[in-house]
Symmetry: C2
Subunit: 470 residues, 2 copies
């Protein structure tokens, strides 16, 4: 499926590629305003690299972090493949929980440890490295390639829709490969045909204009933390149902065939519970853990703060309290519709003596892509080639905003959503990592997908016997 | 009521006393483990001062912060008065909210600004300064005096009960003056005949063993913030009622005469709302703000934290979330009884997939002292002398743990609970202050109370005409 010398180049250059990945991971491209400079530095690092690979490209500004777009078109008759990954990363959280610092990449136990190693800089670089190996041996790629590398995915891609709308012609492609998801398990790679959507909010409740003595005033003055917990505390009931009126209106029920298929996919609950450090799953009543994680909506408060918890301060009513919270949505929920229901719910629960400010941070649609497209078949073969095992066709719990945007705005259904890291690689958690083996397998799979896609097009458009390049 | 030369000494030495108070306020005697050294330093500062005033005293260790106890007995036939104040202070909270740093006392606009200026180091020092002025002029006090200065009040006096139990004989007194409360309003001084009690908890909820990606696992893994808000959010309903079964069992209803008396005390709701920065009071249904603040129980979450709110981190399920919370109690509620009901409630609301740890931090009884004791009458006269206005007899919202302990353990009802600062002095809040005028008036009142008490005893025990020392 891949020219043998390309395969050899991939194997022979692993050490160099990992050193280069380290340099990339050293840039703390955290999706937050104070790291805007680092995000830009990462964008420039990528752009420089694509130029050295012969691409023409540039950095495009968006309302938030920039997008790197680059392309190379060496063929008139070959299909065009667009790769998508993102180069921004989650904040590292509490540094004390990291064994080695998040932006000092460390290779140990067969893996590279750093924030972004798996999600998603490691996977982005896997694409660049593969292109590098092909170019080094062949001087050209087997098809036309576009690279769409985003800098705001961890913020929910706030600037991406506008960018895509304004560059629709430039972004047109015959197939899109999104590598921003883990394998299903360490042993089983995956192709995701469904992704949850999401809508996230910041809520801030204000009470007195300054912290006041609860002993003196308690019972007669609104307490913003009390109010906030009252607003948030009953959103999900003890059966895992979300109690916001209208919330489930457009939730597409799981069909019997899909539940059966899901049940047939190996699910090692004990290992997952051990990895997560939980005694039991807390699923929605009547649904399995896998169904609850991928095909049912969810509600999580991601962060909350009020008063001085860390200092153990008692007998005080703080001036304010706030939370970040998010809903995961499934087809056919509409984030705008859910946001409206949620806003109404908040206002029905908020005490009139407090000032409640609700700001929508981000939203993106859930998506389901056709499972029978030609590119999916090519991807299945490439993954089986690279990982030695047929991928599971599954739905993912984590939304990748771009998938719905690309489907809707580029009007293409030829989308493959996949990725090369293990689910235990601590994405969004301390000690994130990416195994060196998965990195190499990911490169081989990426090359196999490029050659496979070019080849399938040839088969379609010529009557000559396809050239088996493996 | 006071020898004229003492009065003159008080007036003449204000500047010096304020300088000395500044030195005292500079010691950051915050009630928290990392400031144990500063708390001790404050204790030593006080002890040194009492020794220079001719007292014999020492620092007593408790299970928490030390107690300073000192006494002087120059009379066989005079009554013994014990003063109580505390020298520990609340944490300052967010330093950005302070116009001048909390431990760099600043005199401006007729007040001294610092953490502890009003609560309670300023009031403690007012007692010491008064004793200093009397001693400077007279060489002796008009009665025997004991000083009980506590270092753990802001933690809820955790070590005080044991200390009192072990020193009951030494602590015996004919009257106890507790200065750790504000005047009723800027214009109206107050004597408090009732204090709310309290019981406070730390609650910590643990979910997964590390932060995890909510997009991937949301809907199937317990979220500790969701669980915590669910536990806390419904404790108080929208009518201000606490919904914990059994909570109101022993709440003594306000009697009609008391509600009438409370209603007759001037209450400037508009000014208080402006001071607090609120649009409306949020009282318990059917009760006035004053009733709700002083004679009804209350529930407040004082601090809450989970995830990384400040960093705006989304799409994460944190490993834990926690809160500090407290109940204000009224007669005849028993903190232990309330704690039991609360623990049951928490366990009924906690999801079984989470680990909930509930720790009682502190508790103290509510108290009502007789309003018709002789010492109350003496205090009324002294306050009218010092402040030019008869004090209001009111109940306080804020618990002062020592009052109930003294009443119960020293079997005395001759307790006066009062104080000299204004209610707008930002106790437990940024920019705490104490007006210089109140400091001076507090000194004069303290002196008047000592002379008045000595004098009333003379009237009782001799038939000689009382010597009017004013």
């Amino acid at each position: 499926m891949i020219p043998g010398r390309v395969l050899d180049h991939i194997y022979s250059n692993q050490g160099r590629y990992i050193e280069e990945l380290k340099a990339f991971l050293k840039i703390p491209s955290i999706s937050s305003p104070e790291h805007a400079g680092d995000v830009r530095k990462a964008a420039e690092w990528i752009l420089d690299r694509t130029k050295r690979l012969g691409f023409s490209g540039r950095i495009f500004e968006t309302s938030e972090n920039p997008v790197v777009f680059a392309e190379i078109g060496q063929h008139d008759d070959a299909p065009t493949l667009m790769f998508y990954s993102h180069y921004d990363v989650q904040p590292p959280g509490d540094l004390e929980n990291w064994k080695t610092p998040p932006f000092y990449p460390d290779v140990r136990d067969g893996a590279i440890y750093a924030r972004g190693a798996a999600d998603d800089k490691g996977q982005l670089f896997c694409t660049l490295a593969t292109i590098g190996s092909v170019m080094a041996i062949e001087g050209k790629l087997p098809l036309n390639v576009k690279l769409l590398f985003e800098g705001g995915e961890e913020m929910g891609s706030p600037g991406l829709e506008k960018f895509i709308r304004e560059h629709i012609e430039q972004l047109k492609a015959d197939a899109v490969l999104i590598t921003d998801a883990p394998k299903y398990t360490r042993d089983i790679p995956a192709i995701y045909y469904g992704l949850r959507g999401g809508v996230a909010f910041q809520i801030e409740v204000r009470g007195p204009s300054t912290d006041i003595h609860s002993g003196m005033f308690g019972g007669a003055v609104v307490n913003p933390i009390n109010a906030l917990t009252r607003i948030l505390g009953d959103i999900k009931d003890h059966r895992g149902k979300i109690r916001i009126p209208g919330f489930y209106d457009h939730v597409r029920d799981l069909e019997e065939w899909e539940r059966k298929e899901m049940a047939s996919i190996p699910f090692d609950g004990e290992t997952m519970k051990k990895y997560l450090g939980i005694n039991e799953f807390a699923t929605e009543d009547g649904y399995t853990p896998m169904e609850s994680m991928t095909a049912r909506p969810a509600f999580d408060v991601n962060g909350i703060a009020g008063g001085y918890y860390e200092k153990g301060m008692l007998w005080s009513i703080p001036d304010k309290a706030g939370a970040y919270l998010s809903f995961l949505l499934v087809p056919d929920q509409d984030p705008e519709d859910v946001a409206r229901h949620f806003e109404e719910y908040v206002h029905s629960r908020a005490p009139e003596e407090a000032v409640v400010k609700l700001s929508k941070v981000v939203s993106f649609d859930p998506v389901i892509v056709p499972r029978s497209s030609k590119v999916i078949r090519v991807a299945e073969k490439a993954i089986e080639y690279g990982f030695g095992r047929k991928p599971a066709m599954i739905r993912s719990g984590g939304g990748i905003g771009v998938a719905a945007l690309i489907r809707k705005m580029l009007s293409t259904e030829n989308i493959v959503i996949t990725g090369w890291n293990d689910p235990e690689d601590n994405e969004h958690a301390p000690n994130e990592h990416f195994s060196l083996e998965n990195f190499r397998k990911g490169m081989i799979t990426t090359a196999a997908f490029m050659y496979g896609l070019a080849d399938s097009k040839k088969r379609e458009t010529t009557i000559s016997v396809a050239n088996d390049t493996t």
